[in-house]
Symmetry: C2
Subunit: 293 residues, 2 copies
């Protein structure tokens, strides 16, 4: 099945274009989860996996259908961390969740093929984020039937302007040039619902530029990080959606809005189980984003 | 010790600015090496590590002091592959080799810190390659005392021009803009021998542009892939070295020239042990590059 169709169908099931990011950091994991791992004889690195698996169940119960593991959080711990990432992904598959691996890979030739093999053959994720600086031929190895790619176009970190905002002689910004490359790569790769399987990462805090990027990438899914904890709002996201059609569903909006910390580290109330707080936060994320449809 | 001083000293010991890349691919490993792994009861993934360790000893015996493992080759195989990378790096440390991890990471905020922790705390490599598209603040987490960073500036793949060559309104190419960013980041980070600990990746086949990049980055080490198998020549590299000083040593040239396939897959002559062929190829690499001093 075409990745964009699969993603749109998943978001229709959720009823909102919501994605939960798995960015596990040991210092932030609830004590209750750490204690459970320790009780099973697990170490600190297994605690990352146990926590994420708890999150997966909680957000799935809330109606979430798409998750985005942040590879860096696991890779930080080397092969032992990578083994936890594999465990988390296996569980996400078991729960029939769509998995977007946030790994921002970008390399040339056979090295790009290696990374694609890692993502799609070894981990078997549905999509991966990639970095575009090395050119379109370094994105192509990730373009496979039934799989998705999200290329970094415009990010929300403080100094992204230094590289992404300068104007070219033809009037485009660097980010707009990358947007055109992404659109070009995806031109003949639209699924049954009209969206391409190569999407773009566009930060929620860059809403003012998002309308221009949307014009250049009408058929791309925008993966929108920075919602919630990083300051992006529903109104910011509204300007990123595809040009309006009446009665459109969550999957037709063309955005996949990610929240990580505001969901996975939701503070439980006194006596409440931590997973209840995560589930409630995921339900709130969905409710907030439902306003977009 | 400042990374650039350490690198320059290592290259002085070799007598040439040579680096050997470890890009192990199962299909290319000599049968003799595969058989040895199988004889020890090892599997295909362990064969990657065994092969690389054989290469490390052979090139060290040839006089090589700097190696560049390509992370993608190991990551392709998930946590088991990552464990082999760890094994290879441990052995490289044991042989007192300087290790530049080719991982081309680039992410924002805490994720960049995770990748830096992976490289410098978990793997304990001396330097890492990073991707600059997300801006200078995403490179800074990798800038640590005693460690090095090589930012991608100009690559040699077929379609790199599409992103790196367009001209900005101020007259610079995108690659030159990145070069200025790298220079700026390294401005106050020069070691005792005058070189910065943040260098640049500049492909050997982009020699015509290299002189302009060298002007913009006078104190940067250029990591130059694409030598040998990919077509780069000694004359190409000559144009990339720092402005000439009489009697300068290998470490003062400001380049680190990498060859991978032409060395690690060197074909043994009939009856010759495969590691002899690798050692001979590394000796030839050093001899070729010695012409630069």
């Amino acid at each position: 099945m075409h990745f964009a169709d699969r993603l749109a169908d998943a978001l229709d099931r959720t009823g909102a274009p919501a994605c939960v990011g798995l960015d596990p950091v040991l210092e932030k994991i609830p004590q209750e989860s750490l204690d459970a791992t320790a009780g099973d004889g697990g170490d600190d690195i297994e605690a990352l996996g146990d926590f994420c698996i708890g999150v997966l169940h909680a957000v799935r119960d809330a109606g979430i259908t798409v998750v985005k593991p942040q590879s860096a959080c696991f890779e930080r711990h080397g092969s032992a961390g990578m083994a936890q990432l594999e465990r988390v992904i296996t569980e996400a598959h078991r729960l029939s969740l769509l998995i977007v691996l946030d790994a921002k890979r970008g390399d040339i030739g056979v090295s790009a093929e290696h990374y694609a093999a890692w993502a799609f053959d070894n981990l078997d994720v549905h999509a991966i984020t990639v970095s575009p600086y090395l050119g379109p031929d370094t994105i192509e190895p990730f373009m496979r039937e039934g799989r998705g790619v999200f290329a970094l176009v415009r990010t929300s970190n403080p100094e992204s302007d230094a590289v992404q905002s300068p104007r070219l002689v033809d009037g485009r910004s660097v980010a707009e040039m990358i947007a055109d490359t992404v659109q070009e790569l995806g031109r003949h790769r639209r699924g049954g619902r009209g969206m391409s399987d190569i999407g773009a990462v566009v930060g929620a805090t860059k809403a003012t530029e998002a309308a221009a990027l949307r014009e250049r990438m009408p058929d791309q899914f925008f993966l929108v990080p920075g919602f919630g904890a990083q300051g992006g709002t529903v109104e910011d996201v509204r300007g990123m959606t595809r040009p309006g059609r009446s009665g459109r569903s969550a999957g037709d909006l063309g955005v996949l809005v990610n929240a990580s910390r505001s969901v996975i580290y939701a503070k439980p109330q006194a006596g409440e189980k931590w997973t209840f707080a995560v589930r409630a936060a995921a339900e709130k994320l969905i409710a907030d984003l439902r306003d977009l449809t």
